[in-house]
Symmetry: C2
Subunit: 411 residues, 2 copies
C-alpha cells in the first residue's frame, strides 16, 4: 500500500526514491501521484520518507502538477534549457538536472532510481549523475522491488476500481455466450443473421462492451480456438469460424481508460457438445482452480500453490513445467500473478523455487492453471482473480460462470 | 527508414544493436519486428548489420516469434530458468542471459543497447553485463539516436497507415462541428436534445468515432475551453458547458489499436460569433501555420522554422519562449515534432539552438504554433501534419478545415 513506501525506504536503508517519468507509461509514477499523473507527460519525483514529495514538471502542465498536492518546481526554474544549451545533449543535461534536484533536496546516500525509459541512454545518464553527485549512490533494488512490494497490497479504493472492471468482463462473457447461443450450426460451423460467427466477430463484440464501460485493452486479448488454444499466448485467428466441439480459450485483460486498473479472466468455451477428451481436460483444470482456491491461506508462500498444482496435474498423467522449462504440451506456465495498474504484478504464483512472494492480506492475484495439447488441437485455461482480504479471508472477484459448453439455437 | 539501420550501425562504428522488450511498450522493437511484435510480450533482439536479426522469445509465444521471419531461440534454450535459480535474482540472471546471447552471436566491441524498462534496475544489469562480457562496450547513443534517426523517415506503407488515422480525425472534427451545429443557445450556453452540450459530451463523441475506426487514444486528448485553452496541456473539464464566443482547443492524437501509427491534429473552435480579440489571435496563428508550410524546403534545419515563427509572433507584439523558457503567456512551446509509432518523434521543430534535425525527404512532422493568454481566458493552437515527400515537395496530410466559428442552430 502507498502508505508502506516510507517504511520500506527506511527498512531498506534508502535516503530517497527518484522516480522519472518520460512519455512511456510509468505505473509506479501513476501509483504515487494518483489520477493527476494521467495529465503529466514528463516529470521527476523525489520521494523522501516522512516528507511531502517533490515534483519537477513542465510549465505547460503546471495546473496538473498543482493538482497532485506535492511540492513542485518546473523544469525552467532549474534552468533546464540552459543546461541543454550548454551541454548540447539531452542526456548530459538530464544528468545535471537530476544532480541539481537531488542536491537542492539535500539527498545523500543510497537512492532508489525508478524510471521507464531507454535503459541504454540512462546507463550513461546515471553514470554521469554519479560523477556529478558523488554524495549519492544508485541503490540496487531487491529482487522483490520496493515499489513492487508496496503495490502488491491494494487499498480499498483500488479493489473498488478493479470490481468495476470485473463487472464489465462479466458482461463481455455474457455477450459472447449470447452471440453463440443466438447462432445455429450449419454442418459443424456456427452462423447467425450476420453470417458465419468468427473469432473476429467475438473480438468486436468484446471491444464494444469494453468501449461502453470506458475500458481499453492495451495488451489486446486472446480468443483462440483449437490449435491456437493450445499455445497459451496465441491471440487467435480473426478469420476462423467457430466450430462445434472445439475449445475456445477466451482470456480478457482490459484496463480503465487513461491508465487505470486491470482485471484478467479466462474461460474456455465450446460451441455445442464437447468431446469426452475436452470435457475431461476442462474438469481437471476446473478442479485445479478449486483446489487452489480452497487451499488459500494468508501469508502462505505463493510458490507453494504452483507446486501443488504441478503435483495434481502430474498425478493425472500430465507433464509440467517444473519437469522441463521448454515444455510445449501439458501444464507449461506459472499458476498466476498479481494484478493492479499493470496486468502482471507481484505476488508471482510461479517462477523459481527461490520465489519468496507471499499471499499477504491486501494482495490481489490470478489463479490460472491450464493444460495444452496443440498437437491434438486442444487447450484449456481457467483464470480467476482472488483478493486476499485484510481479515484473512479470500474473495473470488470473478463474476463469470465456468461452464464449458454453450448450446447454439436448435436449427 | 528501416533499411537505413544497417548503414547507421556501420557509420556509427557499432557492432550490433541489442533491443530489449519487456511488458512496457518498446516502439523501436515494434518498428524493427513489424506487426508480429504486438504478440510478443517479451523478447531480446540482436541486430547486426547485414545479417538476419536474432530474436530470443518465450516458449508460449513461439508461433508469434516464427511469424517475424527472424532467426530465433527461446529463453529455455539458453537455460534462463536455471540461471534464475542459480542467481536467485532476475537482474543477475538477465545479465547472464544477455552475455550468453551476445557471446553466442559473436558480438564484440561497441553495442547499442535499447530497451524500455526500469532504468534503475538496468543500470545494475548493464554493469554486470560489462563484467561478464568484457569483449563488448555499451555504446553511448548520439543526441539524435540511431533508431530515432532511422524512424524519422517513413516508408510508404507507414504513410499509408497514417493517412487512415488522419481520415478518422477528419470524421471526429466533422462530428464535433455537427454536434455544435445541431445545438442551440440558451443564453450563452449550448444545449441540444440530450441536454447541455459539455466538453465531456464532445470527448465521448470523439471516442466513439475512434472506436468505430479501430483507433485508441493512449495519451487521451485535449478539449479545453477558455482558461484551460490557455494552458497547452490542460485536458479540459468534462463538466464545462460550451459557451458562445469562447475558444475551445481540440487536440486529437489517436493511434491504431494494438500499437500502430499516430496522427495529431489541433483546431480551435468557437460556438457562434467569436469576439474580435479571439478572431485576431486565431488569424495570427493561422498565418504562422501558413507561413511555415509555404516556407518548407527539403533538408532545411527544423529549428529554423521555430525561429521564424518566433520572429513573426514577436513582430505582432507577442512574447515567445526563446525570450524566456518559463514564459506562461504568448508563444510558449516548440513548433512541432515528428510523428509515427510514437506521438513525439524526430525531427524536433523546436528545442535548443544546437538542434540539428532536418526536414529530410521522408520525414513526417507536425506544425503547431499557438498563442496562450490564460489570464484572459484565451488560447489558440492550430496543428497540421506535413509529409516531406521523397520528390522534395511537401504534402499537408490534415483533412480538417481551419474555421474558428461554428454556428449553432438558430433558436
Amino acid at each position: 500500500m502507498k502508505r508502506d513506501v516510507d517504511n520500506l525506504l527506511r527498512e531498506r536503508g534508502l535516503s530517497a526514491a527518484l522516480v522519472i517519468k518520460g512519455e512511456i507509461p510509468n505505473f509506479t509514477f501513476r501509483y504515487l501521484v494518483g489520477p493527476p499523473a494521467a495529465h503529466l507527460s514528463t516529470g521527476i519525483l523525489v520521494w523522501k520518507a516522512g516528507q511531502t514529495p517533490h515534483l519537477v514538471h513542465g510549465m505547460m502542465e503546471r495546473d496538473s502538477a498543482a493538482a497532485t498536492g506535492f511540492e513542485r518546481s518546473d523544469f525552467g526554474a532549474h534552468g533546464f534549457r540552459k543546461m541543454m544549451e550548454e551541454e548540447g545533449s539531452r542526456d548530459a543535461a538530464m544528468a545535471r538536472l537530476l544532480a541539481k534536484v537531488l542536491s537542492d533536496m539535500n539527498v545523500r546516500g543510497p537512492v532508489l532510481v525508478h524510471g521507464t525509459a531507454d535503459v541504454g541512454r540512462y546507463y550513461h545518464v546515471l553514470n554521469r549523475l554519479r560523477s556529478l553527485a558523488p554524495q549519492i549512490e544508485i541503490a540496487q533494488d531487491e529482487d522483490l522491488g520496493l515499489f513492487e512490494l508496496a503495490r502488491a497490497t491494494k487499498d480499498p479504493e483500488e479493489i473498488a476500481a478493479v470490481r468495476t472492471v470485473a463487472a464489465a468482463c462479466g458482461r463481455a462473457y455474457e455477450r459472447i455466450r449470447s452471440v453463440i447461443g443466438g447462432g445455429h450450426l450449419e454442418g459443424t460451423k456456427l452462423k447467425d443473421a450476420e453470417g458465419w460467427v468468427t473469432v473476429g466477430r467475438l473480438r468486436r463484440e468484446v471491444r464494444r462492451v469494453f468501449f461502453e464501460a470506458n475500458l481499453e485493452e492495451p495488451h489486446g486479448n486472446i480468443i483462440a480456438m483449437g490449435r491456437d488454444a493450445g499455445v497459451p499466448h496465441n491471440q487467435g485467428d480473426d478469420a476462423a469460424v467457430l466450430e462445434e466441439g472445439r475449445p475456445i480459450v477466451i482470456d480478457l485483460y482490459p484496463a480503465q481508460s487513461g491508465g487505470g486498473y486491470y482485471f484478467d479472466v479466462t474461460r474456455t468455451l465450446c460451441v455445442g457438445r464437447a468431446p469426452a477428451e475436452l470435457s475431461e481436460l476442462h474438469a481437471t483444470v476446473r478442479e485445479a482452480v478449486q483446489r487452489t482456491v480452497d487451499g488459500l491461506a494468508p501469508e502462505a508462500p505463493a510458490r507453494m500453490y504452483q507446486e501443488k498444482v504441478c503435483d495434481f496435474f502430474e498425478s493425472k498423467g500430465h507433464r509440467t513445467i517444473r519437469q522441463d522449462e521448454r515444455l510445449e504440451e501439458g501444464y507449461i506456465h506459472g499458476l498466476g500473478h498479481g494484478i493492479g495498474l499493470e496486468v502482471h504484478e507481484r505476488p508471482n504464483l510461479g517462477g523459481i523455487p527461490q520465489n519468496r512472494d507471499r499471499l499477504s492480506p491486501g494482495t490481489l492475484f490470478t489463479i490460472e492453471p491450464g493444460l495444452y495439447y496443440p498437437s491434438r488441437q486442444l487447450g484449456i485455461r481457467i483464470e480467476d482473480v482472488v483478493y486476499a482480504r485484510p481479515d484473512g479471508t479470500f474473495e473470488n472477484l470473478t463474476p463469470v460462470p465456468y461452464d464449458l459448453e454453450v448450446a447454439p439455437a436448435s436449427s
